[in-house]
């Protein structure tokens, strides 16, 4: 959904690395138009992977901020600008006040903001339980990949938990990871109608998410 702040975090070990969560965010950001601002406090994004999740390296501008405060300030400034496709920021702590500011900035400019929650140590992940002003909150956990008839690693699979949605229900999906166009798939079928990032990127309403939950 455009003009809103969304939170994405990794489950389990991924809370530290935010690899699956990052790829999920990249898949969503890749489906928007325009440049994407990716704000980090420590840089370990491998740009070819973003490309494989559907976000071309040419569109991403990285900002390396020194502290969480700087990350949030840049995040807000990026959201206020309104000319960007999406703004992704890797943050650890996100207070109610900070998230409300971000949400307001996104609402005024119509920008898509994704707060990629990433903590330094596993205990930090408890922070994810505290409430914020974001519109949706997702947790992405890795699942064993699709079993292949031959040795090798199949298409990665994720469990997507929609923990909180404003004026909507919680939901759990088991999906296959983003492909080169940022599409997710269920049961091996790449189908646009089921592509979840489309829900976020194309601004479909929350009822659609609810319906999908019934089918998931």
């Amino acid at each position: 959904m455009l003009g809103a702040l969304h939170e994405v975090a990794g489950g389990g070990c991924d809370a530290l690395h935010a690899a699956a969560a990052g790829q999920f965010a990249a898949g969503i950001a890749g489906r928007t138009r325009g440049k994407v601002l990716w704000i980090v406090s420590r840089q370990d994004v491998f740009a070819p992977a973003l490309m494989q999740a559907g976000l071309s390296g040419r569109r991403v501008i990285y900002v390396e901020a020194r502290s969480d405060v700087d990350v949030l300030a840049c995040f807000e400034e990026g959201l206020r600008h309104g000319g960007l496709g999406a703004v992704v920021a890797e943050v650890a702590r996100l207070s109610m006040t900070a998230s409300r500011r971000l949400q307001l900035a996104a609402e005024t400019s119509g920008a898509l903001g994704i707060a990629l929650r990433r903590w330094r140590r596993p205990t930090g992940a408890a922070d994810f339980g505290q409430s914020t002003a974001s519109v949706t909150r997702w947790r992405v956990s890795v699942l064993p990949s699709v079993v292949l008839p031959v040795p090798g690693v199949g298409r990665p699979r994720w469990r997507l938990e929609l923990i909180r949605a404003r004026a909507g229900d919680e939901a759990i999906f088991e999906v296959e990871a983003c492909d080169g166009q940022g599409r997710l798939a269920q049961n091996g079928l790449v189908e646009n109608r089921l592509a979840l990032p489309a829900v976020l990127a194309d601004g479909s309403d929350q009822e659609a998410v609810g319906r999908r939950r019934a089918r998931a």
Partner: protein, 487 residues
């Protein structure tokens, strides 16, 4: 010349062309002691002195250097300064010498200062440009101050070449047996003018100060600058912001008149306790939009300390670039991407220009070398990363060693221990062999890495590699490393 400069103790000659001949233009002290002088053909010079270092003369570069030096003199010594190519600078120090402690002290300071930067210089002060020119080049002393009215006496012994006459006139006078200025000045004018033209008399008069000779001073490029004094010192952030708002529009006006846009702006705030605070903003592209500059400057107000108050503000453009007038929009290209350069500038002024970048592909198979950072608004390149193999979302800054158990030579590990956690490998892809880049260094001639994408029993996927091909010791340590984490 930096590292390419010849050693100071080497004999050096700079060489230029006269017609089709290559001749020595100038020599350094060592070569001069060895008997070389300017005007010698290069072949002869080399025959005389086999160890001679020869480099091409660069008159254009000399001229530029001379102009820079002249600008320095203009700032430090006297306002009227001219370049006297190929090797001189003329200063009109009238009324300026007492500022430097007298003429002798002024010359001493100038020569001393130049010597410290490696420039050998001679200097003379005289009544006229011609006399000073002659005495500085042909006089014996390194520094010479000629008292007023004594220029004629001081120049009497100098060779006639000191008079800035053309070479053929100098040769003609030599043929007549005149070699010094004193005898030449005493000769009747009319026969000289008949034989050599009016130049001899004119140069003599110029040297003795009988005819005025204008100095055409260099003019420095004025920086674009707007300043404002305050009757009452200001200190509140809102007041400073308002004053910035009044300074910026005239500055933009000046920039527009010159057809320029600024890349770097400095705002100097002079405090009442005669200290200065400064705000510097830089932009990714030339800017002269007042609103944007005001916003960028105002964001930095909190970094300054107004102390007891600010009494003067000066806004300067430290770096300007040409900026044409551009059509803002047309009806046809509405689908154009919105301009983000304003956002880039304000972010860059918060986190620094270095911290704002994009990744561009580099043609290398080694993961950590396969990308490079380019400025955020650098032009796009058409190439992209190859899409043969999945790549991890996170690439560790440096590969971390892991304990692993694997069948040699090319099986993935059965399990590995990373950061104290033992992970059993459920399935794996690989190996993807990456060879060292032998053109980068000898150490990489034989090295290889075998990358595997492994998934453990809980579903987490990692990118691990073995340093070496598993068979030959020279290809690497055969140890296992974890390099990336997949989503």
């Amino acid at each position: 010349m930096g590292a390419d400069a010849p050693a100071p103790e080497a004999a050096l000659a700079l060489v230029g062309r006269v017609g089709r001949r290559r001749v020595v233009r100038s020599v350094d002290l060592v070569a001069r002691k060895a008997g070389l002088c300017p005007g010698t053909p290069v072949a002869k010079a080399q025959a005389l002195y086999p160890d001679l270092t020869i480099m091409d003369a660069d008159p254009q570069g000399d001229r530029v250097g001379l102009e820079k030096l002249a600008l320095w003199f203009q700032r430090r010594i006297a306002p009227v300064v001219a370049v006297d190519p190929p090797d001189g600078i003329v200063l009109d120090t009238t009324g300026a010498d007492h500022l430097h402690g007298g003429e002798q002290a002024m010359l001493a300071a100038m020569v001393q200062r130049l010597r410290r930067t490696g420039v050998t210089a001679k200097a003379a002060v005289a009544d006229s440009l011609g006399a000073a020119h002659a005495l500085a080049r042909y006089g014996r002393a390194r520094m010479l101050v000629v008292p007023p009215g004594e220029a004629a006496a001081a120049m009497a012994d100098l060779p006639i070449a000191a008079l800035r006459l053309p070479d053929d006139i100098v040769d003609g006078l030599h043929a007549l047996g005149v070699s010094r200025i004193g005898p030449l000045a005493g000769m009747p004018r009319a026969p000289l003018a008949l034989r050599f033209g009016p130049d001899v008399a004119r140069r003599l008069d110029q040297a003795f100060g009988r005819v005025a000779e204008a100095i055409v001073p260099i003019r420095p490029v004025e920086p674009v600058e707007v300043g404002r004094n305050f009757a009452e010192p200001i200190g509140a952030a809102e007041t400073i912001a308002r004053m910035i708002g009044t300074l910026v529009p005239p500055l933009c006006q000046l920039l527009e008149e010159r057809g320029q846009g600024g890349r770097c702006f400095d705002l100097l705030l002079h405090r009442v306790d005669s200290r200065a605070e400064a705000i510097r903003i830089t932009t990714a592209q030339p800017v002269r939009a007042a609103g944007r500059l005001v916003r960028l400057l105002c964001e930095k107000i909190e970094t300054i300390d107004p102390g007891f108050g600010i009494e003067r503000m000066v806004l300067t453009v430290s770096r300007a670039e040409p900026m044409g007038v551009r059509q803002a929009m047309s009806l046809l290209d509405e689908a154009d991407e919105p301009d983000v350069s304003g956002l880039i500038d304000s972010l860059a002024n918060r986190v620094g220009t270095q911290a704002l970048y994009r990744f561009m592909p580099v043609e290398s198979d080694i993961p950590e070398r396969s990308f490079c950072r380019v400025p955020a608004l650098a032009p796009d390149e058409a190439k992209d990363w190859p899409d043969h193999w999945p790549r991890p979302m996170r690439l560790l800054p440096r590969p971390e060693p892991v304990h692993a158990m694997a069948e040699l030579p090319d099986q993935p590990p059965v399990f590995f221990i990373w950061r104290g956690i033992r992970r059993k490998v459920r399935c794996a892809d690989g190996p993807e062999r990456v060879f060292g880049e032998w053109w980068k260094g000898d150490a990489e001639l034989t090295t290889a890495r075998d990358y595997f994408r492994v998934e453990d029993t809980s579903g987490e996927r990692f990118w691990i590699y073995r340093a070496g091909d598993g068979e030959h010791g020279e290809t690497g340590s055969q140890g296992w490393f974890l390099h990336g984490i997949f989503g």
